[in-house]
Amino acid sequence: MSATAAILRNSVTRISAVILVFTLGASAWLAYRLDVSRPEVPSQEVLYLQTPRAVKIISLGYTGLAACIYWTRAVQYFGEKNVAKSKRFDLLQPLLDLTVSLDPHMVPAYEFGAIFLAQAPPYGAGMPDAAVKFVERGIHDNPTDWRLYYHLGFIQYIERHDYKAAADAFTRASDVAGHPAWMNAMPALMSQRAGDIETARVLWTRMYENAENEAMRKNAYLRLVALHVDDDVIHLEALTATYQQRTGNYPVGWREMIAAGLLKGVPVDPSGEPYRLAANGKVVVEDPARFPFITKGIPSGQKAAQTVTDESEKLLKNH
């Protein structure tokens, strides 16, 4: 091949190589931009069969089976959305509605809906009012199940902060036969210690003990862990304040606090990691990604976990 031939062949090759590198880079960057900027697409979020009547026709009368299918879909849908840190759960309510329309006695569906319709995204659909309606519907069809009253009270207390309505629901629960003994104490708890961390802890503990659904159990457990962390942080920050009052300075390390007799050892969070002392006596967790739901102890500039992360999975495994 002559010299000119080499150059001619190479010029096209060279130009296309440059274009290739540039355009591939540009398209990868655009793909990234699109990912970031695009509002979340409710992709494939269509319920082709929206009315129970249509589903009943299609299922040839096997409504129980159809209910199970929609129930499974609802749980999967929630799981996927939660993993995707979604802010929209458009189909959760229609899926649950369909499920209980097909089988009005599917109590787990009401329980599931009670928590996950009510909780704020990305832990739920953030629709506490719809959750209340949904559970009321469950109570209407299953008036003898104490757990539904309990869930109603739960939403009223935790999500809507309507302590009176909560107390009312718990009272109704204690009227139903077969309710556990601890239920009797709930109405009083509502009226005496409303808004307390301790009350929330009791509610979540009962939820944890009684949950039959794995997602609900995990959720309750992580709530309890978060309450624990919040509690620890409040307690420890009180101690650093005491230290500051005594010495005029905030402590720099736990050792000073131990030396001052305020602590017996280095305090650790539920994952076993020591708490960290930040400026001005603030106490923070080492890794907020481990603790969804915490409201205190979040290092400045960081966020609590938006969903159940690998780290919080470890907590669940260890418990």
Partner: protein
């Protein structure tokens, strides 16, 4: 001269496609499916429009994709088998002009096909909705995005057919289409991994065509708007990605011995 040669190759490619029976079979099935979508609509009470838009636009996407791949894979290899490429390249036609001509020719074919399928789709919509509403303009946006997907798919098909057999090209291109629709899920999966494997999967997820962002079918089914920014970004993305695939095709084809 270069542009006129590219234009002639494009026109001849288009002419080949419209004289091919495979094309009409595919269009026939697409229109048949579109004609039957009102029936699907009837099943889901009160949802006709949403179901029709979803099914109709999905049908347009899938049939267009099939047309792109089936016609695209043979574009280069057929010309080599029949030795027609030899008579083309022994003229003042450069190899890259040939590739670009083929690309635009197939693009034109798809544009015309998509137009007819879109007309069929809108006719079906008119039949069940008895009229158009203002938000139906969004449907045109969705169709535009579908066309953008075709332009990307064609470029990819052309890339594969510039070095491999038609069968392999078809498999590659189809696989690419599927992966492209799961690009976002791939990124989600990457986030669950760590270290090197995470970097690799994440890298791949950004290099495969991102069709997810171009798929606004379910949004427009719910009459949700397409933003101007999305329009711009998707257009740029399709242009860049097609250009990347085409320059890779040219890179390979320029240096290939035509045995």
């Amino acid at each position: 001269m270069t542009t006129s040669r590219i234009g002639h190759i494009a026109y001849n490619t288009f002419r080949e496609a419209v004289r091919d029976r495979v094309l009409y079979n595919l269009i026939f099935f697409a229109l048949l499916l579109l004609a039957s979508t009102p029936l699907f609509g009837k099943i889901s009470i009160g949802l006709e429009r949403i179901v029709l838009v979803n099914l109709g636009l999905t049908a347009v996407t899938i049939f267009g994709m099939l047309i792109s791949i089936f016609i695209g894979i043979g574009l280069v290899s057929k010309e080599i088998d029949k030795k027609t490429l030899y008579t083309v390249l022994s003229r003042p036609v450069r190899r890259w002009e040939f590739i670009l001509g083929k690309y635009f020719g197939l693009g034109l074919t798809l544009l015309v096909n998509t137009f007819f399928m879109a007309v069929g789709f809108l006719a079906a919509l008119l039949y069940i909705a008895h009229g158009f509403q203002r938000s139906d303009v969004q449907l045109l946006g969705a169709l535009y995005f579908i066309m953008l997907q075709f332009m990307v798919i064609i470029a990819i098909t052309l890339l594969f057919s510039s070095f491999s057999s038609p069968m392999l090209s078809a498999l590659f291109a189809f696989g690419y289409f599927v992966i492209g629709n799961f690009a976002e899920e791939l990124r989600g999966a990457a986030n669950l991994l760590d270290g090197v494997s995470r970097a690799i999967v994440l890298g791949i997820s950004y290099l495969v065509p991102n069709f997810t962002a171009m798929n606004v079918i379910s949004q427009v089914a719910h009459s949700e708007g397409i933003t101007g920014a999305l329009l711009l970004q998707n257009s740029l993305y399709a242009i860049f990605y097609s250009a990347a695939a085409l320059s890779a095709a040219i890179l390979i084809f320029e240096n290939r011995d035509l045995k």
